[in-house]
Structure formats: C-alpha cells, structure tokens
C-alpha cells in the first residue's frame, strides 16, 4: 500500500509502484484537470505541485510518493471561487483550447509562491517547460503579472 495526499485528501493505492502519478490522478481519482500531453516531461500539461514545487506528474512514480503532499489544479480554486492565478487567467482570457492551461497555472502558482513579483525573464524561466500549441504565450506572461498583483491584494 502506498499512501500520500492529493489536495489534502488521503490516498491509498495498491497499484504498481511504477505507475505515473498522472494516471492515478486522472483514471483512479478522476481529477481530470491534470492533462496528458506527452508522457516524457516535454509539454508540462501534467504539472502538479509536490510539496509546493511544480513537477511533471507523468514522470512521478507513485512508489516514490509515500507521505508526499500532492496538489492539482483543482486545489487552486473552483469555477465559483477561483484562486488568484485563475482569476488572472480569466481576466486576461488566456485560454484558447485551454488544454495546456492547468499546467501553465500550476507552474505559475509555484513560481509566484517563491517569487512574488517575477519579471519577464523569471516567468520565461519558470514556464518555458510548458508548451502551448495554441500560442497563448503573450497572454500567459501578462496573466502571471496580474496574478502577482491579485495575490498581493489578497494578502493586504
């Protein structure tokens, strides 16, 4: 039995330890906000937080997660109460197809937790592992800046 938490909830599973976290999230826990895009750490669609750090869940074997805290896009907020990064994404209407955006938002949230007011270069560094085939990059940059503002407002 492997035990870890996802969005604060305890998960116990007897799946093979080499099972990628991505597929446990999607197929077992039905947390489908996290997406499959490449399976080889090249696209970032599967980005989640592991103990607060942005990680590619397609590369994380659950056998290595004993006791870990995993957070997914679903922990960032809901349609009724979106979190600050999500609000910035809504305000700037970033998404086209939207398929990459869970991963983009998770990468942005991890960056903002560490660097509250990132410049463009820091944003580029943190999010360049996240492909967007639709080409929403200009809006992503703007939305990260806006999210930084919203987070400051929220804490004031």
């Amino acid at each position: 039995m492997i035990r870890f938490t996802v969005n604060g909830a305890q998960v116990e599973t007897d799946l093979e330890p080499e099972t990628p976290l991505l597929w446990v999230l999607r197929d077992t826990l039905k947390l489908t906000g996290t997406k499959y895009g490449c399976g080889i750490a090249q696209c970032g669609a599967c980005t989640v937080h592991l103990d607060g750090i942005a990680m590619r869940s397609c590369q994380m074997q659950i056998g290595d997660l004993e006791g870990a805290e995993v957070a997914t896009i679903e922990a960032q907020g809901t349609p009724e109460a979106p979190g600050p990064v999500q609000r910035a994404w809504i305000e700037h209407q970033v998404a086209q197809c939207g398929y990459c955006q869970s991963g983009q938002i998770m990468a942005a949230a991890a960056l903002l937790a560490e660097v509250p007011d990132p410049d463009d270069a820091q944003i580029d560094d943190a999010l360049s592992g996240n492909l967007c085939r639709c080409g929403t990059y200009p809006r992503i940059r703007a939305a990260v800046h806006r999210a930084a503002e919203l987070m400051r407002e929220d804490t004031q």
Binding site: E16, T19, P20, L22, W23, R26, D27, T28, K30, T32, G33, T34, K35, Y36, G37, C38, G39, I40, Q42, C43, A45, T72, I73, E74, Q76, G77, T78, P79, P82, Q86, W89, I90, Q93, V94, A95, Q96, C97, G98, Y99, C100, Q101, S102, I105, I123, D124, D125, L127, S128, G129, L131, C132, R133, C134, G135, T136, Y137, P138, R139, I140, R141
Partner: protein
C-alpha cells in the same frame, strides 16, 4: 396581478409539461432544405428554417454546430444568436447539437474554387454561390477554412431574430397585446406595463407559429455583444481545470484502451505477438483493429504500457521510404503531365525572362511535412449496446463520423449518437476520423461496455496526416529598380486528393490548395505566372492550419523579397508599389506605420523583414524584428495587420492572430516531420518543439475593417509569419534561407 403576469404563470405550467424534451424553433423543417436541396427561392427564408434555438423550461440553448477547438467558435456563434434574440450573456448555454445536414457549411466549398478573394467578377460570384449549394447538397457540416464566422454571420443572427419574432408572436397570442407594443429584454418579452414573460414560458406557443419569411436584423450600431469584448463562455472552465474534453470522458462501467497501428501509414500488419501484453496487470484483452491491435485494460496507463510490449510485424510503406526519396519525387514533378493548374498567367513570362537573359534570378525553395500535434492526443470513446452506438469524440466532420460508424457497425444513421466534445486543439487534425473508427472497432468487441481509447503522443505524431512537403522553382527578373517578372512553379501532393480518397469522394478538377497563397496574390507584376504541379501521393496528408497557404506564403513571398532586393528597392515600398488591391495596401501601410518602418536594417545587429500573404480572403502583412545575440537569433517583436471586414469578438480575434503568428513562427523555426524506413523520425515534443514561452516575441495586432465581406481569422495570420522571419534573417545576416525549418541554418536563442 396584471393580465400578462397571470398568463405567464399559466403558460409556465403548460410549458413545463410540454417542453420535457425541449422545443426547437424551426426544428420541424430542419430536413426540408435537404429533401429539396435546389428548391428555388430557398435562400431568403433559410435562416428562419435553421434549428439553432432550443428552448426548454430552463431557458434558451443555442446550438453552435461548429467544433470548438480553442478558436472560440461556440462563443462567437452564440453571440450572433444572442445579439438578435436578446439574451443576457450570463444566461447563454451552448450545445454542439446532433450531426445534421442542415448545419452545412456554405463557405468551405466556396473556398475551394479558383477565384481569388479579391475577384468579385460575375463568374467568381456565381461560382462561389454554386460552391455553397454543393456544400448544401453534400451536407458538409465542417469546421474549417476559417469559415465559422463568415458562414455563421447572417445565418446565426437570422436564426436569433426569427426566434425572437416567433416569441413575440407567441406573447401576442397569450396576452392579446399587439406585437407592435411588445419588446424583448434579456430572455423575456416585455409588455408596455413592464411585465416580463420568460421565453421559456412562451416556447410551446412560439413553436406553433410559422417561422417568418423575412427578418430585420439590428444595425451594427445597436449591437450590445458583437464587436465588443466578451467573456468567452468557456473561459472560467478552462482556467479552473473543469473544462471537459474528449479525453476526460468518464462513463459507468467504462474500460480504457489504446491502439497501435502500422507507423508506415497505410501499410498492413502481417502479424503480431501479444502474449506478453496479455499477461500484464489490468489487461483485459488484446484485439485486432484495422492495421494493428488495440489493448483494452482497466486504466489508460496499463493499456499504454502493455501496448508497448506487443511485437508487430509491420508491412512496407506504400510510399517512398525516406525523406530524401520524397524530395527527389517532388523535384521530378515539374512535368507537363503533372501540371495541375495555371490560374495566373499575366503578360508573357517566357518572353520577359528570355529578354532578361543572364540577369534572370533562379531559386529552389522547399517546406517540410508538418504534424498538427494538438496538445490533446487523439482519443475517442465509444459504446455499442442494444443496437445503439454512442460516440464521444471531438471532430470537425460529424456527418462523416456517422457515415464511418454506419459502415463499420452496419447500424442505421439514426442509431448512431455522436456527442461532439470540446477539443484540446486541432489545427485541422480532426478533419480526419481515423482514431474514432478505431474506438468504434474496439467498442464492437467490448460487449456493451464503453471504451475510452487514447493514443500515446508517439502514436499521435507518427500517425498524423501531415501538411505535405512542397518544392518551388522560382525565376524572375528586375528592371529599372522594380520587380518585372515572376514565374513560380509549385509541386506538392494534393491534400484534396488524399482526403477525397479516404472519404470516397472524387475531387475533380485542379486542387486550388496546391497554389493557394501564391497564385492569388494582389500584385501587378507585368509578367507573372503561377503554375501548380500535382505530385504523386506519398504519405496520406491533410489540412493543416492555413492549408496550402501555410507553405506557399513562404515559397511566394521570400522569392518576391529576393527580387525586390535584386532590384535595390525597399521591401515594404516595392510591395506597396506592386499591390493593386486597396484592402491589401491597407495592411501593408498599417504594418509600416506600426513598426516605424525605415528599411530592413535597424542597426546594432537588429533587422526586420516584412511579408504579405492573402489567404482565406484576408490580406495579412507582418513585420518581424530580430536581433543577433550571443545565444543565437532572437525574435524581438512582430507587427501584424489584417483586414477582416469586421471584428465580432475582439479578444478572441487578438488571441487567434497572436496564436497564428506563434504557430507560423514556431514551426518555421524548428519543426519538420522527416521519414526513415517509412516512419516519422519525430515521435514526441522532444524532437518537434514549436515555440516556447521564452522565445515568444511581443506581438502587436491591428485589425482593419474596411472590407465589405466579413472574414474568419483562425488561419490567415499563419502564412506570412515564416517569410517575414526568413526575410528578417536575411536582413540581419545576409543569409537567404530557402528551406524550413530555419534552424537547419541558424540557431535561435
């Protein structure tokens, strides 16, 4: 309580009972135009007969029968109806609707005709009208060709206006108040004394009223949604991870699957050994599918892992086995026998070039095969139970999917239920239904259980129907500092022929896509000729964002740039001088102004290039600025101007144009599909990257709205991006790169 108030209550009760399944205004005549496709006098009343407005007790649902692949089709189509029907934005609900011939796309076939968008002559106009009629006959419910907005613009607004009139008529019947005294507001009919009757309460009565023959549309001055920034209907879902895509479908009792077929497209499978895969955890069975085998398991990952353990004996590729042979085949295609079209032949090119003698410029260019690779890999879910087939998948061709399903299952069309899904991108990939057919094949052996079939990225990239490679041979001459002669020959396999073969539809006549974005450019070069050559089919190919123009923009504009350079003229000024279409001149002037154009050289290792392509009726000009850095070449800035007649959805418009530029630049920088032993050498995003965030330039977009025809913008920003970048690289480095991707010759920061 006022009379209207009482009646509203009474009819509500009546309504809820009667509306259980929903009442579609005009629904009963849906099939009408298709029983009598050429019935005279059909067109004027058409909108009133189209089933776009569904009202039930919960309110209004707008049917948006074009697939939303990220281009915002649902939002903009809904806005057209809502504008006329008078709905509150927050109340709008949309549904793809069932596949239906009534949802034909009149613009797709029109685009396939050999008349340039700037040609408004009698023959061109009639041919376009005939094209729409053909689409109607064929029931082409297609999403593509940047046609959603132009095709929907009148139809959807008229559908909204017709429904509104019927609802007002219903209110008159219920209240006795004359229609002239009734107005509408936010989903209600409003009486003179301010009583508001919800549309839902009037729906049943309204459905009994004959659709009006004529409707008056609002003046654009009175629009409250169209032309204004709107919040996309899907934006909250897509920002919170709650937007459902095909890949997210979850059904009771569902099994998961993946498929592997011969990576030599169209090759057979001679046999396979699945004994290892069959014994792996979670695997239920391994079954043959056309061209390969599918693994059905209790999770996607277990299916994918097991599929890797099947050893296949693949047959040979029915096309040249490697890229070098393919180039050779293309280069051998410039023959009289393979000549497909010569839509442009101005002046006397042969004489002009002969006269120029030794001064003739000649160059060969080429563009590679390219994958669509939307970020959501191809997937489909299917369930065959009790003589009924349900399909959950995202497709741009719902009618063809139903036809495929009838062919595979032997069921009647009415027993096939396609639930079209939001797509995680497409770029033309979902104009093919191969992956859906595989899911159906699996469902046919799954004893009633739903099967969700998901491709690995590797299967997706190696089983695409790519944008075909193309070769151009260009010759030209300059005189007195001007471009004087331009002779362009283009050779590529025909996309229409490849698609037509799969759809069992002959594609007679020349394939316009072979020369699109080249033959139809608005330049008055005295001696000017464009010839298309239809190369023998190689790998199966399909439409890729901006189709023929995607490569021809580069092949045409870069050689024009060479000629302008040889003439010693300014790249922007000479294009302007040559351009004989006022709308096209407008976009060239606009990018000149936006970029502060003062010539290609900007000093300090910085330079800029300009390019122009007219495609899908949209003139698009782009200026790309680059700089040389220690890490390599950087794209700093892009200026884009496009002429679309009218912008209906400004935010989405901006997003589409920027996305198109990034798509064009990213693929030009570093993408190609190459073949070895009949298979693609690129299998995933490690070797097929496109643009990443750190490479994304700042992009300034300007929409011009001078044209009389409204145009779609999903594609036209793509074709000029690659040549503008290549021309900028020439300006910066003196290096004229005549093939894509550019990183074969320069490195990018």
């Amino acid at each position: 309580m006022s009379r209207a108030g009482k009646i509203a209550r009474r009819t509500f009760l009546f309504g809820t009972v009667a509306i259980a399944g929903g009442v579609a205004l005009g629904y009963y005549v849906v099939q009408h135009p298709h029983d009598n496709p050429l019935k005279p006098g059909l067109d004027p009343g058409e909108a009133a007969l189209n089933p776009y407005v569904l009202i039930d007790a919960d309110g209004v649902t707008i049917i948006t029968p074009r697939t939303d692949m990220g281009q915002g089709a649902h939002s903009v189509l809904a806005a057209m109806v809502a504008e006329e029907l008078d709905l509150a934005w927050s109340d709008i609900r949309v549904w793809d609707g069932p596949p239906g011939a009534a949802y034909y796309n009149a613009k797709v076939a029109a685009e396939a005709l050999p008349f340039s968008a700037t040609d408004d002559g009698f023959v061109a106009r009639n041919a376009r009208a005939f094209g729409g009629r053909v689409a109607k006959v064929l029931g082409l419910q297609i999403t593509g060709g940047s046609t959603t907005v132009p095709d929907g613009f009148d139809r959807m607004r008229m559908a909204g206006a017709a429904a509104r009139q019927m609802l007002i008529g219903a209110a008159e019947a219920e209240t006795g108040i004359s229609q002239a005294d009734l107005t509408t507001r936010d989903g209600h009919v409003v009486t003179p004394d301010g009583e508001a009757i919800a549309y839902a309460d009037l729906a049943v009565q309204a459905a009994k009223i004959a659709p009006p023959d004529e409707v008056a549309l609002k003046s654009p001055d009175d629009w409250r949604y169209l032309g204004q920034p709107m919040e996309r209907l899907d934006i909250v879902a897509k920002s919170t991870g709650t937007q459902g895509y095909g890949i997210d479908i979850d059904l009771p009792d569902m099994l998961y699957a993946t498929v592997r077929t011969n990576p030599r497209r169209g090759g057979v499978v001679r046999g396979y050994d699945a004994s290892k895969a069959e014994g792996m955890p979670g695997v239920q069975r391994v079954v043959p599918v056309t061209g390969g085998a599918g693994v059905i398991a209790d999770s996607t990952w277990r299916a994918m892992r097991a599929a890797q353990e099947i050893s296949f004996d693949w047959g040979e590729a029915p096309y040249p086995a490697d890229t070098a042979q393919m180039w050779a085949q293309l280069e051998a295609s410039f023959t009289e026998a393979l000549q497909d079209s010569r839509f442009r032949d101005d002046g006397d090119v042969d004489a002009a070039l002969e006269q120029a003698g030794g001064e003739v410029l000649e160059a060969q260019y080429r563009v590679p095969h390219l994958a669509h690779a939307p970020l959501e890999p191809m997937n489909a879910t299917a369930q065959l139970k009790d003589g009924r087939l349900d399909i959950w998948a995202s497709t741009q061709i719902p009618m063809y999917v139903v036809a495929t399903a009838t062919r595979l299952t032997g069921l009647k069309a009415e027993d096939i239920h396609l639930h079209n899904q939001y797509a995680g991108g497409s770029f033309g990939r979902r104009l093919e239904d191969d992956f859906i057919a595989e899911a159906i094949e699996l469902a046919m052996v799954a004893e009633g259980r739903p099967i969700k079939m998901t491709w690995t990225r590797e299967e997706d990239m190696s089983h695409d129907f790519p944008r075909p490679m193309a070769v151009s041979r260009a010759r030209g001459a300059v005189a007195d500092g001007k471009v004087a002669a331009f002779d362009l020959s283009l050779a590529t396999p025909s996309v229409a022929q490849s698609q037509g073969g799969r759809l069992n539809q002959p594609m007679p006549g020349p394939d316009v896509a072979i020369v699109a974005g080249a033959w139809d450019q608005p330049f008055a070069i005295p001696d000017y000729r464009v010839t298309g050559y239809r190369a023998q089919p190689m790998v199966p190919v399909s439409s890729w964002r901006s189709v023929g123009a995607s490569g021809n923009g580069f092949l045409h504009d870069c050689f024009l740039d060479e000629l302008i350079h040889a003439a010693g003229a300014d790249p922007l000024q000479e294009r302007l001088r040559l351009c004989d279409d006022p709308l096209s001149r407008g976009v060239l002037e606009a990018v000149g102004e936006m970029s502060g154009w003062s010539g290609p050289d900007m000093g300090d290792g910085r330079a800029r290039g300009v390019a122009f392509t007219l495609s899908f009726g949209v003139p698009a000009a782009e200026v790309v600025e680059v700089s040389q850095t220690n890490a390599g070449l950087r794209i700093d800035k892009v200026f884009v101007a496009v002429e679309v007649g009218r912008v209906l959805d400004p935010v989405n418009f901006d997003n589409q144009v920027k996305g198109g530029v990034i798509w064009g630049l990213g693929h030009a920088m570093n993408c190609e599909l190459t073949y070895k032993d009949g298979m693609t050498e690129q299998r995933n995003f490690d070797s097929y990257q496109g643009m990443r965030l750190y490479q994304a330039p700042s992009i300034e977009v300007r929409a011009l709205e001078n044209g009389e025809t409204i145009r779609g913008i999903g594609e036209p920003a793509v074709p000029p991006a690659a040549p503008a970048l290549a021309n900028a690289i020439f300006a910066a480095t003196g290096q004229r790169i005549r093939e894509l991707p550019l990183n074969r010759h320069v490195s990018f920061a």
